[in-house]
């Protein structure tokens, strides 16, 4: 592989990986606080993209109006899901929460099929995201850079919130020990809702950028990114924001590079990706950045 080809693939990998990372951050945030694998997260990605589609196609709104509205609407849906489906189950075994997440995911997908229709829809990119940039022999479309930059900004913002604000401190407390935190006079419901809201907003932002990169919408479009982001989160150490970022980037680059290096073996790509994941978990059971937690007796 020439250096240019390598750089080209690397850029493509980083841009795909940044998308995974953005979605994975939301995953990991919810997981860190509730220990819930929120399988409906991928469907929030889908919702975010569809809101923009309807905003632009039907209401003819400019992108700088639709993007925030889409993120707000998705956040709202996320909060509703948390309040109605997850909150009542908080004190039950975690498998119930997981099943509820599966149920919510089924519901969102099927509702989307009924309401949005099963046919893939075209997503029109705002013009400024469409221009091509050439650096040497490496061709990039402007959205590639924007995705990477957005992912870094959001990640930094999130880390700031978690480490430097009161809400963030409360979140960290909840993730360490929910019951004790509630005894400290912290409104747990409030904090968990905020965590969900942030997670959903990130999912929506990820969904919009996903649709910018892959301008095709369908009701099941959230499944693949959702699963990939979940893997990325686990890879990085689920519950850890930096881990999710690193896991996402790593997964994106590995996926692209595997195919680029062995084009005829492209069909085996996912098998390799999962094999790497399983091996990593065997040697480092809590992921790349995961903390080793002492067992409570």
């Amino acid at each position: 592989m020439t250096f240019e080809a390598f750089m080209q693939n690397l850029m493509n990998g980083v841009s795909l990986g940044s998308l995974y990372a953005m979605i994975a951050i939301g995953y990991t945030m919810v997981y860190g606080i509730l220990r819930l694998i929120n399988f409906a997260h991928g469907d929030l990605v889908m919702l975010g993209a569809y809101w923009v589609f309807y905003g632009v196609a039907i209401f003819q709104l400019p992108w700088w109006v639709t993007f925030p509205i889409a993120i707000l609407l998705t956040t709202l849906v996320g909060i509703i899901i948390e309040r109605s489906a997850y909150k009542p189950l908080r004190n039950y075994p975690r498998i119930n929460l997981f099943a509820a997440a599966v149920g919510v995911s089924f519901l969102l997908e099927n509702l989307a099929i009924v309401i949005f229709g099963g046919r893939p829809k075209a997503f029109s990119r705002p013009g400024f995201l469409d221009s091509q940039i050439k650096i040497g022999n490496v061709t990039l479309v402007s959205y590639t850079l924007i995705i990477i930059v957005t992912a870094i900004i959001l990640c930094a913002l999130l880390i700031y919130i978690i480490n430097r604000t009161k809400v963030g401190m409360a979140m960290r407390a909840i993730s360490k020990d929910l019951e004790t935190t509630s005894l400290m006079g912290i409104n747990i419901n409030h904090i968990i809702t905020i965590a969900f809201a942030i997670g959903s907003a990130l999912a929506a932002a990820g969904g919009i950028l996903w649709a910018v990169k892959f301008p095709q919408l369908n009701p099941l479009m959230g499944m693949a990114p959702g699963l990939k982001a979940f893997i990325a989160a686990v890879l990085g150490g689920i519950g850890n924001v930096w881990g999710a970022m690193i896991g996402g980037l790593l997964l994106g680059v590995v996926e692209i590079m595997l195919v680029a290096l062995f084009p005829t073996m492209a069909g085996y790509r996912d098998a390799f990706a999962y094999a790497i994941l399983i091996l990593l978990l065997l040697f480092k059971p809590t992921g790349i950045m995961g903390e080793v937690q002492a067992e409570k007796v």
Binding site: I95, N110, L111, V114, G267, Y274
Partner: protein, 354 residues
């Protein structure tokens, strides 16, 4: 006394149901037969998942992979050589697999054993992982299997799938296998192994401190679970007569989790009831999607409505019957008699006795 009575009752019930099944086999509308057979297959999935999760506490999401291995092995062993040659028209099948043809039952059992072997490859190392890490490792494992099925064309015919698998699965086979599976699982969970499994579920550290060999009990549950899941896969292949890797997408594992939680973690009875209700409800809801005529008013059917209503029902059960339909109780004759004696069902007394 009561023990003996219950044993007799059970034997009578088995005989009666066997006769009913045989009778249904001969006379029942094939549509109902198919639904009941599917119920039994999904019940097997749910029961086996319950064994590994509900009783042993190991969150394994590898069921789609288990089912896939069982299905492909059974299918390839039962198909006639001519049928296989016709199927593998893009890339010929490996000669060894082409020439082998076995009766259904041995093929099914071999399918189960092969599933166990394959599942051990990942199970032995992965069962050291805890909780969600085990879940993602097993989920990855089942996706690896699916990717291999897609790519290993000379073995599996890839995405083209297999067709013309003899449709051996019928009511008797399906419910018979389910009975066998439940029998084994019940014996297991009621034995000292079962108690050890439950202790692993409730607190691994405490169980280990008490001298329970964690790995041994986890792997035991895992083996039994994958064996019967493989058999259920084999039954599924020989029911629909045609399979391809898409049938065993990882979402199948989610469905199984949903069904099992709906029935109640730690209740085999619940798993069976829930799986049967799942299959039957999905069919009962079909008319919703077709056009409804009320007098001259026509309401056009909305495709997909059925699944929406179904997901709402699923959520309602999960949210409002939080222990599942059966909690962790099983059907017992004693409970039935109590039920019959007090049909209005205020069980205050019972609660005290328990």
């Amino acid at each position: 006394m009561a023990a003996k009575r219950n044993l007799y009752l059970t034997l009578v019930a088995i005989t009666v149901v066997a006769i009913l099944l045989w009778f249904a086999q001969e006379n029942l509308n094939p549509y109902y037969q198919r639904i009941l057979t599917l119920s039994a297959i999904y019940s097997m999935f749910a029961v086996t998942f319950n064994l590994i999760f509900g009783y042993t506490g190991q969150f394994s999401l590898g069921h789609a992979g288990f089912a896939a291995v069982g299905a492909y092995v059974t299918a390839l062993l039962t198909m006639s050589p001519a049928q296989k040659v016709a199927n593998f028209f893009l890339q010929p099948i490996v000669p060894f697999l082409r020439d082998v043809e076995l009766p259904f039952l041995p093929a099914l059992l071999i399918g189960g054993f092969v599933t166990v072997l394959v599942s051990l490859i990942v199970g032995v190392p992965a069962l050291r992982l805890r909780g969600d890490y085990l879940a993602i490792a097993t989920l990855g494992f089942s996706e690896i299997i699916r990717v291999l099925l897609v790519n290993l064309q000379p073995l599996t015919n890839g995405a083209l799938g297999l067709k013309g698998i003899p449709s051996n699965t019928n009511l008797l086979y399906a419910w018979g296998m389910l009975g066998f599976c439940v029998f084994v699982c019940k014996r297991l969970v009621d034995s000292s192994y079962g108690r050890a499994m439950k202790s692993v579920r409730d607190d691994e550290v405490a169980a280990e401190a008490l001298g329970v060999n964690l790995f041994k009990h986890k792997i035991l549950a895992y083996i039994v679970s994958s064996f019967f899941a493989g058999i259920a896969g084999g039954l599924l292949a020989n029911l629909i007569s045609t399979i391809d890797p898409k049938v065993f997408y990882y979402t199948l594992a989610y469905q199984i989790v949903g069904i099992t939680v709906m029935g109640g973690m730690g209740s085999l009875t619940g798993s069976i009831i829930s799986a049967s209700l799942y299959t039957i409800f999905l069919e009962l809801l079909r008319p919703i999607e077709s056009q409804i005529n009320i007098g001259s008013l026509q309401i056009p059917g909305i495709p997909g409505m059925r699944m929406v209503i179904f997901s709402v029902l699923l959520l309602v059960v999960i949210l409002f019957y939080r222990k599942g339909l059966m909690g962790d109780t099983e059907f017992t004759w004693d409970a039935l008699f109590r039920f019959l004696r007090k049909p209005k069902g205020r069980n205050d007394q019972e609660g005290k006795v328990a």
